[in-house]
């Protein structure tokens, strides 16, 4: 049987950079083929070529054994290839059913006049989503759905268009554990129905669970390819990074004075000491975001906050920053000015510190930026490059660098490693660890419970806006206990 889609010796250059070097890759109908690699390994380029966004410099794309040339994304969709990216292209104001049928709305004709056939529209929507085991009110506007539900609607739309080749790019990055499980059962159904799925993820545990085959890219080349059962997470990591992984873990540290303390009603108090990493675990919508924003002065906190032992009223981020607190939001676009340079972003919160006689001291600024770029290993090492040109992992490092430049003592970190590859993840963890061993404190909110369990000295569980429990490392900390504590 021919492959659903395959590439033969695909190469792609961007300027002097070789993004892909003679890639052979294929996926069969009824197969999930995972594609993994560090940021910059060439995954995105390959996906963009398969979805018609980029054209290869050399090599061929075959769809069901026939050579195809995609002049643009439209051609790829016409060939039955759909990409479900992290940003879903749905129309928020339209209903679920309308989104599914968009571009092909069922109509009733009255002579020259055509009216939308609402009944059939709903029927189609329900039927398609039922295949995915998803039974929403199809009249509900998409804007009211959760991210996970939107993702299912996007998949449903593609199924409705009879697409049979799916490219899922980091589909679980913004999902809760139970939503991930639902997505996996959807993928298994789709596979059973003969859909070909290319699955891209940084979460290697997921890859091992869901993939029939796995291909590892590094520096634009295929460095490994294996069938289910013959690869494990550790193998994938060493193939991706080209080095053996450091097992992580943290040495016990001496705790310094209390940096931050917050007591709300009958909740467990939030308290972070110098030298301490505290986790904040909760399901999406459980209130971890509000707690972080309250501590940073974005939202009015309904509780007394003391910083460094003194009670403080934080009227805004400027107050929080002045008391030595830095905040890195989960959505990196909210923490960075994307069209500004790495240098300007690093200095964004410290402009006052590098100002002499009302003028920004460029040399001092350049020096600080260069030091931090070095220290955090931000690549490429070009301070003048706009942040938008950096990979997710490097953007996250710029966010950290911004607060290190400001010399804050307490970091509030939201999803610090979401959507970034294992290599960069380990680096970020090391940086946070380094920050606290030098007398800083960190409060980390993450949906990656394994990350919290491995990194933190204690984790606070948040349920329905309340901090219900504190789990200490000394009492044993693993993602299963955390999952129970947050009610997942």
């Amino acid at each position: 049987m021919p492959s659903a889609i395959s590439t033969e010796r695909i190469s792609k250059h961007f300027g002097a950079n070789r993004a892909l070097d003679q890639i052979d890759f294929d996926v069969a109908f009824g197969e999930v083929h995972a594609l993994v690699g560090e940021n910059g390994a060439g995954k995105s380029t390959l996906i963009r070529i398969l979805s018609g966004v980029h054209q290869p410099d050399a090599g061929r794309i075959l769809v069901e054994g026939k050579e195809q040339r995609f002049a643009g994304p439209h051609d790829a969709i016409a060939a039955g290839i759909v990409t479900i990216p992290q940003e879903l292209r749905l129309v928020p104001a339209l209903s679920i059913a309308e989104n599914i049928a968009l571009g092909d709305l069922p109509v009733r004709r009255f002579g020259p006049m055509a009216l939308i056939d609402r009944g059939r529209l709903r029927e189609q929507g329900r039927a398609v989503l039922a295949q995915l085991d998803f039974v929403p009110d199809v009249d509900c506007p998409v804007s009211r759905l959760s991210f996970a539900e939107r993702q299912l609607v996007a998949i449903g739309r593609a199924l409705h268009r009879e697409c049979r080749i799916f490219i899922l790019d980091e589909p679980t990055a913004a999902l809760e554990q139970h939503e991930i499980e639902r997505l996996f059962s959807v993928l298994k159904r789709m596979r059973a129905q003969g859909t070909a799925i290319i699955y891209i993820s940084h979460e290697l545990d997921e890859v091992v669970e869901v993939a029939d085959r796995c291909t590892v890219l590094r520096d634009g080349r295929v460095v490994a390819s294996a069938r289910r059962g013959s690869f494990a997470v550790a193998d994938l990591i060493s193939a991706m990074t080209g080095r053996v992984q450091d097992p992580g873990g943290s040495a016990p540290r001496a705790l310094g004075p209390t940096l931050l303390h917050m007591q709300r009603g009958n909740d467990q108090p939030v308290s972070v000491h110098a030298g301490e990493m505290i986790g904040l675990a909760g399901l999406l919508g459980s209130g971890t975001e509000a707690i972080m924003r309250g501590l940073f002065g974005v939202l009015r906190p309904d509780a007394g906050i003391s910083v460094g032992g003194e009670p403080r009223t934080l009227r805004g981020p400027a107050d929080a920053i002045a008391s030595g607190i830095g905040f890195s939001p989960g959505e990196r676009a909210l923490g960075l000015v994307l069209n500004q340079s790495v240098r300007d972003n690093i200095l964004l919160a410290s402009l006052d510190q590098v100002t002499r006689n009302f003028v920004v001291d460029r040399q001092a600024g350049d020096r600080i930026a260069a030091e931090l770029i070095d220290l955090l290993d931000i690549r490429p090492r070009r301070p003048e490059l706009p942040v938008r040109a950096l990979s997710g992992g490097n953007q996250q490092k710029v966010l950290l660098a911004k607060w290190l430049a400001r010399r804050v003592r307490l970091l509030l970190l939201e999803e610090p490693t979401q959507g970034i590859d294992v290599g960069a993840k380990a680096q970020i963890h090391a940086l946070i660890r380094d920050f606290v061993t030098r007398g800083g404190g960190a409060l980390i909110a993450s949906s990656d419970l394994a990350e919290l369990a491995r990194l933190c000295d204690a984790v606070l569980a948040v349920r329905q806006g309340a901090i219900t429990a504190r789990l200490d490392r000394t009492a044993g900390l693993d993602d299963a206990t955390l999952r129970t504590a947050i009610g997942a």
């Binding site: 940073f296 974005v298 920053i321 402009l351």
Partner: protein, 318 residues
């Protein structure tokens, strides 16, 4: 490898100078088509015409870099010209000039407060103030030019025509402003905060920047500079004209966009906006010299604006 990267760097630098290159090309082409273009009289004319628009465009660049938009500058210039003339007739030149600039700044402050603190859309807010201010101008002047029985003070009128080092005083104003305010935008924390706020308001806010105050301040700059332009115009017209400055807002916005600023905010530079002003003025001048029908002139100018914006989009997409 090294070679290609320097090549790429040069290409990048060249792409950043597209407005200047276009202006030079436009001048060369016009000079070839008509020798009158390079006559001292014509060149002086272009400089003087550009000077008032340049002052407005510099203010507009603050607003656009900060992520906003200001349609009220034309009306504001008229208001400032009339207020300056009226005060000048009562008291003195200095008081008149200050009153004109402050009237402009006050309009800017209203715009800024409404937009930044009430979160009203800048397009609608300044569309409103554009109409409102024009109405106020007609109310305070009764619709008639302000020049008093014996005209505006001679020293003030002279400012509109006298020269220093062979260059009109009017031209020195934007030249000085450009030098000082470019430094403010580029080198002071305030300037960097304007860029950051326009480029990513939430990120700027979460970095401790008082984004509302920064945004409001850009409108104050814009209003005050529109006021100054109105005063310059009054000197040139030897009177406060209630109908002055119509469509100035459109020319100024077009010039800023021609200069490569992004209407999404966070990008743009004062110097390039002034280049944009020159492109607009030289284009009009060239079409005049070539005796192009005035209706066709409008069509041509419209095409240039849309084409420049489209070219910019295409370049940033590739």
């Amino acid at each position: 490898m090294k070679h290609t990267s320097t090549l790429a760097a040069w290409r990048g630098r060249l792409a950043g100078q597209i407005p200047l290159i276009s202006l030079i090309a436009l001048c060369i082409l016009t000079a070839l088509l008509t020798p009158r273009f390079l006559s001292p009289l014509n060149l002086t004319n272009i400089l003087v015409q550009s000077s008032i628009m340049a002052v407005i465009a510099i203010g507009m660049t603050f607003v656009i870099v900060g992520g906003g938009f200001d349609l009220s500058v034309g009306s504001t210039a008229a208001l400032a010209g009339c207020v300056a003339s009226m005060v000048m007739l009562q008291t003195g030149i200095t008081a008149g000039v200050v009153a004109g600039i402050m009237a402009g700044g006050a309009v800017g402050l209203v715009n800024g407060l409404v937009i930044a603190f009430l979160d009203v859309n800048p397009f609608i807010t300044t569309l409103g103030t554009m109409v409102l201010v024009r109405g106020v101008v007609f109310l305070i002047t009764g619709g008639a030019p302000v020049s008093g029985e014996y005209g505006l003070p001679g020293a003030f009128v002279a400012f509109g025509s006298e020269r220093f080092l062979g260059i009109h005083l009017l031209v020195w104003v934007p030249a000085l402003l450009l030098a000082i305010l470019s430094f403010v935008m580029y080198a002071t924390p305030y300037g960097r905060r304007v860029y950051a706020t326009g480029g990513g308001r939430e990120a700027a806010y979460l970095s401790g920047i008082p984004v509302r105050r920064v945004i409001a301040s850009t409108y104050v700059w814009c209003g005050a500079l529109a006021g100054l332009a109105g005063v310059m115009l009054a000197a040139r017209l030897q009177s406060g004209q209630p109908t002055a400055g119509e469509f100035y807002e459109l020319t100024a916005i077009a010039a800023v966009v021609l200069g490569g600023a992004s209407l999404h905010g966070g990008e743009g530079s004062l110097y390039k906006s002034v280049i944009g002003v020159f492109i607009m003025i030289v284009l009009g001048n060239a079409l005049n010299l070539l005796n192009v029908d005035s209706y066709w002139q409008r069509v041509a100018v419209g095409i240039v604006i849309v084409a420049a914006a489209a070219a910019e989009r295409l370049r940033s997409r590739s």
